[in-house]
């Protein structure tokens, strides 16, 4: 039996229960406090402290024995709660819920400076009640007879670009990447088998140059909240996890973990800019509500169409390589010049795992295609670009086929090889969501003898790399190739900080040294299939996007100037062992 713990459904496919407030209240009612595999610390036992925050509550705590505390908020009557505490060097951390409510606090105290950062946490604060909300208050522990400190822990971008492997005392293993100052990307190795990575909005708070606080909320998924303090030198963490898992069971535990440093990606902010929270919590001129933050909610906003709706919209409007104002045109702002090399040529692309495709290229933008067994030719609009000498990428839609296929094809005339990302619709979850098959094969044409055995092949050479793409003025993103089967994309803010981030399944094919053909699927997002041919010599990519939505089916050109942003050393985590599981 396979030992790699692949889930029955990946995180973005799990239909998490929409828990009601009453259900959540019932699940919280019996909670005495957080659990922990590691022994709780008694660092606060017997103490009474008052935490003063700048724009938040004043919290008076009295810590008793047996992990019980009493809390008075803003001078109100005290309530009792069970709590857990852990320490990491000079940091004391504790967490508790408040009985009879759906909220609680998790608090980080630097015992050297008496500075405190307070995270107020609550359920039922968003339309999806299970999604944990948070508000952060900065302050200090009052010291009788001493003036209040002026320094504070601060939001920061100093964690941006880092990546760690973490192993908690629970046994949970993750790869966690912070390529954004507002989001993070995580690979669940032990819970989900490490096949795909996922993203969540995150906070990064600087305690000092060595110690930082990180949070993540698994929005669009379970809504689970994770917070930890990490020591970047010792690579140790202490933190809390709060939320409901896929079976709606409460996870509320403190953890201690150790990790490995995986590398550092480039940052693109101006030198000297160390500010955090680059994404404003509310729109210009609006006062953010408590806990407000910008959350990318692609699943909520994507159109979810049936096969009948897809068929109808494709019949109504199908567009291939629209002019500058057409669908997806923004992504083609930095396209290189198209090639007309194919014009007038005839060839057959003989795939190993799909019917051969015959082509007649009428001119630089029109081709005719047919499957080898067909008698009729079908006209299609195409565009082609020569990324490296002898290697041409071209794409076209296959009008008339049942699943409205689109082909993004790299033809390598030096080797006589072809690789096609065959996009198609009518996929199992939502009919407008693209699926993809990767087709390998050879080129048959006059004057070219193709190889018998050689093929382009899937590669892991891109895994761990980060590459930024500037598609057009104001449209800059970065890909983080975080697993052999998924990538994440990060959108830069106007200050060139990493902002919103999301991820999807992906694959990478090596065409030549320094030339990689890759795709990603924007599953549970907007259904797009993105394909690009990345030239690491010229640092330019070219490709095509394939998308179906309420506005129709489209294939559009993609072209960007790229920059290498660094690389994480992570392939060792994806090696298959002889026992059949990944490391």
């Amino acid at each position: 039996m396979p030992k790699t713990p692949y889930p029955k459904e990946q995180m973005h496919r799990i239909a998490y229960t929409k828990l009601s407030q009453q259900q959540i209240a019932a699940k919280l009612s019996g909670v005495k406090g957080p659990a922990s595999v590691s022994a709780f610390s008694d660092v606060f036992s017997g103490q009474s402290i008052r935490i003063v925050t700048d724009k938040g509550p004043a919290l008076t705590y009295t810590f008793g024995r047996n992990n019980r505390l009493s809390l008075a908020e803003n001078g109100a009557g005290a309530v009792d709660a069970g709590y857990g505490a852990l320490t990491l060097n000079n940091i004391g951390f504790f967490s508790h819920l408040i009985a009879g409510t759906q909220r609680g606090y998790s608090i980080v105290i630097d015992q050297d400076t008496n500075l405190a950062t307070v995270f107020e946490l609550w359920f039922s604060g968003y339309q999806d009640n299970r999604e944990v909300q948070r508000e952060i208050y900065y302050g200090y522990v009052e010291q009788p007879g001493r003036p209040a400190p002026t320094a504070r822990h601060v939001p920061t971008n100093r964690v941006e670009g880092k990546g760690f492997y973490w192993k908690q005392d629970t046994g949970a293993e993750t790869l966690e990447f912070y390529p954004s100052a507002a989001y993070s990307h995580f690979i669940e190795l032990s819970r989900f088998g490490g096949e795909l990575g996922f993203c969540g909005p995150s906070d990064y708070v600087k305690i000092n140059d060595d110690l930082y606080i990180y949070t993540r909320t698994e929005c669009e998924f379970s809504g689970t909240f994770t917070l930890y303090v990490m020591d970047l030198n010792r690579i140790e963490q202490i933190g809390v996890r709060l939320g409901f898992d896929a079976n709606d069971a409460l996870e509320y535990y403190l953890f201690r973990g150790k990790g490995e440093w995986l590398g550092q990606l480039a940052q693109f902010e101006k030198f000297g800019d160390e500010t955090g929270s680059p994404v404003p919590p509310a729109a210009n001129g609006e006062t953010p509500a408590k806990g407000a933050r910008r959350v990318y909610r692609p699943f909520k906003t994507m159109p979810k169409m049936s096969k009948a709706e897809v068929d109808a919209v494709c019949a109504k409007k199908t567009t291939a390589f629209a002019p500058a104002s057409g669908p997806g045109a923004s992504m083609g702002g930095n396209l290189g010049p198209a090639t007309n090399w194919l014009a007038g040529k005839r060839l057959t692309l003989r795939y190993d795992n799909a019917p051969a495709m015959e082509y007649r290229f009428d001119d630089a933008e029109t081709l005719q295609w047919r499957r080898e067994s067909d008698s009729n030719w079908t006209k299609a609009r195409y565009r082609a670009w020569e990324s490296m000498p002898g290697v041409i990428l071209f794409g076209h839609l296959l009008e008339g086929v049942p699943n409205h296929d689109g082909h993004s094809i790299v033809v390598d005339f030096d080797q006589g090889l072809v690789t096609c990302f065959n996009g198609y619709l009518n996929t199992p979850y939502y009919a407008n969501e693209a699926g993809v098959k990767t087709l390998f094969g050879v080129i048959e044409m006059e004057g070219l003898i193709p190889p018998k055995y050689n093929r382009h092949y899937f590669t892991d050479e891109m895994v761990g790399r980060a590459v930024s793409q500037n598609y057009a003025p104001g449209l800059t993103s970065m890909h983080l190739y975080s697993t052999p089967h998924s990538l994440s994309w990060i959108i830069f803010t106007t200050s060139d900080a990493g902002g919103l981030e999301w991820s999807g399944p992906a694959a990478y094919v090596k065409i030549r040294e320094g030339l990689y053909f890759l795709y990603w699927l924007e599953e549970a997002c907007n259904g797009t299939l993105g394909t690009i041919l990345v030239n690491l010599h010229t640092m330019r990519d070219v490709g095509v996007g394939y998308h179906c939505g309420e506005e129709g089916l489209s294939m559009s050109a993609v072209g960007a100037h790229e920059r290498l942003a660094g690389r994480f050393d992570i392939m060792r985590f994806y090696q298959v062992t002889t026992s059949g599981r990944i490391v």
């Binding site: 507002a182 404003p280 001129g285 990318y296 057009a472 104001g474 449209l475 919103l500 997002c525 907007n526």
Partner: protein, 167 residues
């Protein structure tokens, strides 16, 4: 041309001539045909208009109302763009204010650098995400000349018309 409906700032109008609410009090006109007094009056008018221009710029740059901006008429320049900032172009020609001999109207020419903003169409995931995080626009700086017409009524100078022309 498409206006940025989501903009919280102001856009050039396609056309329009609206009296500006800003005014600046000028000196009482001296009837005596005394060269020195006339020159003094002209200098005081120019100074008043200069102050009016600076006040107008401050209002623009601090987020003026659309009503204030409605005085713009742009001739083949900046249509459909959102204006973020107007600053004096130190590399351009000096400001010029010419008061008519009757002292009732004046014209100003101000070389300036105008920061404009264009929204990126939300036609792809990247653009939608950029908008979702408060971005999704391109800013550029254009150099041009503000041609401003002033009129004096009840002793106060008022902006009658502002035209932006390319250099």
């Amino acid at each position: 041309m498409k206006e940025n409906a989501n903009s919280t700032r102001r856009s050039f109008l396609k056309s329009g001539l609206v009296l500006a609410p800003l005014t600046a009090v000028g000196p009482p006109r001296v009837l005596a045909d005394d060269g020195l007094k006339a020159r003094l009056a002209r200098l005081e008018d120019e100074a008043a208009i200069g102050k009016l221009h600076q006040a107008w710029l401050r209002q623009i740059n601090s987020g003026a109302s659309d009503a204030l901006l409605s005085m713009f008429t742009a001739q083949g320049f900046a249509f459909g763009h959102t204006v973020r900032n107007i600053a004096a172009d130190q590399a351009g020609e000096p400001d010029a204010i010419a008061v008519e001999p009757n002292g009732k109207s004046a014209a100003g020419r101000f070389h300036c650098a105008i920061e404009i903003e264009d929204a990126i169409p939300q036609d792809c995931t990247l653009a939608r995400m950029a908008h979702a995080q408060g971005g999704g626009f391109v800013r550029r700086t254009w150099r041009g000349v503000l041609k401003v017409e002033y009129v004096k009524a009840r002793g106060a100078w008022t902006i009658a018309r502002v035209e932006l022309v390319s250099v």
